[in-house]
């Protein structure tokens, strides 16, 4: 076990974590603000990958696909919120769970009908192929790109939340939806945008993961669980929490794999259990959020 190997493994964890961060931000915001545990989040991830395939076929540009696919799926997310989720507000947390759960099945089957059961090959775009030297070893260029995209997106979101009026409303809505409504802000429109944003981020994650893991109708299922774990560890409704937790889970899984691959997946749940025992609200969550 050399320092080089350790650093390379940590970097691998950061790349792994980047996907988790994008998934968790969306889920955390939706859960934190709308109190909707979005069981369809994995399905949006998967649809994003397929939307990317279609966008790639139409434009032949990966960059165009990374912009178009999340926007398209984000719009789908807004539609879902407006038509399916909104009628269920005020009825407790069970209804949205069942709705999003069923929605995930429907989305998977529709994709299977449209694109078949075998999955679609997805190659790493030419300009991102190959490996770069990081000093302590060679690392796939694509994964470096992935980390970069994650940093840019999280940075942009942070600026949006901290510096814009919209961001102010979002933060206020997360802190206390009642008061925000009393102040005359149409919180429901904000919620629709948040849901769309979450779906769009999941779609981006799916598209970015496609060159590494392929594009199949079932690809969202394992990711959903991972997203929930990261959301719990980071704390609901916290952008910073989701980001930190995502990278932390990625690195922990990667380093555990170095010693025992069998326990790599388990390590994520062990971390979640530890968090729930020591700090139940998550690293950056608000206390008593679901009270």
């Amino acid at each position: 076990m050399t320092l080089d190997l350790f650093l390379l493994q940590t970097f691998t964890g950061l790349a792994l974590g980047s996907i988790l961060v994008l998934m968790a931000i969306g889920m955390s915001l939706i859960f934190g603000m709308l109190t909707v545990p979005n069981f369809a989040h994995g399905a949006f991830y998967m649809v994003g990958a397929f939307a990317g395939v279609v966008a790639l076929r139409l434009t032949d540009s990966f960059i165009a696909a990374i912009i178009a696919a999340p926007l398209a799926v984000g719009a789908l997310g807004m539609l879902v919120e407006r038509t399916l989720v909104r009628p269920l507000y005020g009825r407790g947390v069970d209804y949205p769970i069942v709705l999003t759960f069923g929605l995930s099945y429907v989305m998977v089957e529709v994709i299977r009908i449209l694109f078949g059961k075998e999955g679609i090959p997805f190659e790493t775009p030419e300009f991102l192929q190959g490996a770069v030297s990081l000093g302590f070893g060679y690392f796939p260029l694509y994964r470096v790109f992935l980390i970069g995209v994650c940093v840019v997106v999280v940075g942009a979101l942070y600026l949006c939340l901290e510096r814009t009026k919209f961001g102010l409303v979002v933060r206020a809505g997360a802190a206390d939806p009642e008061i925000v409504r009393v102040l005359g802000v149409d919180i429901r429109k904000v919620w629709m945008l948040i849901f769309g944003l979450g779906a769009g981020l999941a779609a981006l994650a799916g598209l970015l993961a496609a060159p590494m893991r392929g594009v199949t109708a079932e690809m969202g299922i394992p990711v959903l669980v991972e997203a929930f774990v990261v959301t719990v560890v980071g704390g609901m409704g916290s952008l910073v929490g989701a980001s930190v937790a995502g990278l932390l889970v990625g690195v922990v899984m990667s380093l555990t794999s170095l010693f025992s691959p069998k326990f790599a997946e388990l390590s994520m749940f062990a971390l979640m259990a530890l968090t729930l025992i020591v700090r139940p609200r998550g690293l950056f969550g608000r206390p008593g959020h679901l009270g």
Binding site: K117, E118, E123, R213, G214, P261
Partner: protein, 415 residues
Amino acid sequence: MTGQIVAPNMNRRTLLAGLGAAAFVPLAPSIVRAQSETIRIGFPVPLTGPFGAEAQDQVKCAQLAVEQFNAAGGVGGRMVELLVRDDKLNPGEATTRTLELIEKDKAHFIVGALAGNVQLAVNEVCKTRGVIYVSISQSDTINEAGTFSRFTFHEGMTPHMTTQAVGKYVFPKAKGKRVAFLAADYTYGHETLRAFKRSAQAHGMQVVEEILHPLGTSDFSTFFPRILAAKPDVLCICNFGRDQLNSIKQAVDFGVKKQAQIAVPVFLYAQRRAGSPAMFDGVVGGCNYHWTLEDSVPSAKAFNTLYRAKYSNTAPSDYGAYGYAGVSSLLAAVKKAGKTDTDAVIAAFETVELDTHKGPERYRKCDHQAIQPVFVVESKAQAQMRNEFDVFNIVHVEPGAEANLRSCDELGHKG
């Protein structure tokens, strides 16, 4: 007046006619049966689940075998019927379906199963019911004394056969002696890992890294830094299905191909087609059948022609060929025996000389393993592909020979 109470609208004449007709009823079915009782072959395969595509092709090819046999007259005028069932890749489900096939549908024989553990479940049922089972799944365990019974026949290749063939081709050509292994942590992964290591050691290779990954892993990135740090000259990846696709894809991303030759025990046609030529270029693996064999083997050409005639100009897959081979070999034995009586068919199976689709083949007596040619294939670059199905070059043919199997003694068979 009394007649009116029993059957108001019937008179004595009708009653006598009815009784007379009824007397013949017990005789009628046996007259029908003796002339043309169909031979029923149960065919449980995983139609739903991740290997649905492979299983569908197995069904298509098995049906070809049945149609071909029936067109040639069947056995003593008796036609064959294929009873396809979905085992859902689950041993419990397979057990239920097999029991149903034997007891309710009165199947004479069972052919099938794709997954290792499912075939073992089917084998257990057939063992206790005394029904011949031809397995078309890969396994080392099914040959072993504890699992095997005289009703068990194994058309599929064994991990031992495939890894020895691939090792024989890959290890002497490697640029160095260091070999690393990445294997899926379940039966198939363990069996292929064990067999591959045996081959490696026989060729004087040094095992520098060995990693077991959980079945169904989607992200292999955490394993490659370790593998690369060990500086292997050959990387053997022992897994199946989607795992094969993802692990090779990610190995290539991490630059493994620049350092090492990637070898797999069985190179899956379906996964190769789901990936791209650039990604798989240069990867070597074992194979039970590739359609380009038609250029050199007449029975392959006959099989492909039959397939194309019915399924418009596509080509049979490797797993499809198993479906054809399992049923054809069984029917050849039935034809040799002349009847469906189990003992007669077993005796015929042990001595029948076959060439169903890829060259000479026969079954060994001690464990009923099919001694068959094993092919080593290398993935073709885009430029060399004649069409979308032309994905592999057959670089080496290991002809069928008992020496390529594990010995009867090693498997625990006495005598």
